[in-house]
Amino acid sequence: MQRIVILGAGTAGTTVANHLSKRVEPGTSITVVDPETEHLFQPDLIFVPFGMQRPENTLRPRGGTLKPGVEWVQDRVERVDPDSKRVILAGGDDLSYDLLVIASGSHIHPEETEGLQEEHWQRSIFDYYTLEGAAALSDALANFEGGRLVLNVVENPIKCPVAPLEFLFLADAYFTKLGRRDEVELTYATPLDGAFTKPIASRELGNMLGARNIHVEAEFNAASVDGERGVLRSWDDRAIDYDLLVSIPTHMGADFVSTSGLGDELGFVPTHNHSLLADGHDDIFVVGDATNLATSKAGSVAHFEAEVVVENVLRALEGRSLHEGFDGHANCFVETGSGKAMLIDFNYDVEPLPGTYPLPLAGPFTLLSESRRNHWGKLAFRWVYWNMLLPGRNIPVPNRMSLSGKRTSLLERAAA
């Protein structure tokens, strides 16, 4: 009997497990390990602070998300021993595997920044990358008396790299609707040299921030926070005063990745960019936020990667050569406030471009520009996630990025 063990049952691990359950030979076992009893739909975390989604509606019992053929071990992975092909669990048990899939995601580490997670944490300093943080922030925003609201990305990579922009757009709309926008100063302090990493999208998003009177403090690498005085400081000694600080702290992979010697300096697993095999191993695949790949840490990416990993797990079990099918494809809706959103679509080689994104039934969506249909697309994604993506049903979105509808002339102009 062959054993497939999947570490983490979030977006990526669940999708891979459920897909595999339909395709493996009888007698092959599929085990997922995850200590959490509930599955959190993380894209909803952006809505919780603004009262647009209730905290309890973001969770579903994990058991119901896994197909009958998948065994769930509710425990925390302590360590992986690749030599003896064993996973050591916190509860003391051991699992041996023939093929391992690491899908343990990325997590915030506020303790990495001096002064961030101290007595002012969840009083004047908040995160929204955890459900607890997002819920606490929702109260803080409702009670905010006005003043300087600063959003800071401590360091990259972060998951959902558009989430900081969404937060700012939604905050602008939130205070505007309350008729209090003039009492609130919005600042975005980012290590990037502009609104986004890629030039065309950065220009477009930068203009949208400007139009909403949101100030960008670029190339700002946060060194410390003085919670008492309400000051955020950078390594090059710039200081930003705040009344309310919303922090997106340093992200790292799961602890066991580093403990097992499988990670880079942030605990992300060095991974082959097309086959998703862990570098230096022939029996470990990596999927979702746990990789070190140069694409977004996003649910859409986890989904596109999952298809390739499922195919490659099956091929590896049969000793066949791997499919080098992943192209870095990412596809994200960006909420822009007041019931609108935009869509960006890109891969390793092609940066986000304006144009239209054709999709049967629901589309076309507008790329890099706002529309109502995009917002509905974002809301529909919630349904698609629980009912199609996680259960491993096929959805009509091509795995590889397509240039159809995109204004590629902009690329030639940029290159010229």
Partner: protein, 101 residues
């Protein structure tokens, strides 16, 4: 020697177009152009960046440099003011470290 005298080809952002043009002399010229005069600490960082990039195939990011080169974050900002990640790569003759997406 200056960037011009060494005939170094730079891109828009001042990075070497051809990494093979790098030499310790080129590093001094590139640093000079940024208003930096190199000391031993700078050289520790440059050596680390070049060795690491050769092994990893990509230039190290700032966190990696501060964690593995023996020069901490505070010092990195003193040695390479403003953007140590970008500047260290530039002076080490490496491409711009990829912004994460």
């Amino acid at each position: 020697m200056t960037v011009q005298e060494l005939n170094l080809q730079l891109n828009d952002e001042g990075f070497l177009v051809d990494g093979d043009q790098w030499s310790p002399e080129a590093a001094e010229a590139l640093a000079e152009a940024e208003g930096i005069s190199l000391n031993d600490k700078h050289w520790n960082v440059i050596t680390f960046c070049r060795e690491d990039a050769a092994q990893q195939g990509t230039p190290p990011g700032l966190r990696r440099i501060s964690k593995l080169s023996g020069v901490n974050m505070k010092e990195l900002y003193q040695l390479f003011p403003k953007g140590p990640g970008k500047l260290a790569a530039k002076i080490s003759g490496l491409p711009k470290p990829q912004g994460c997406i």
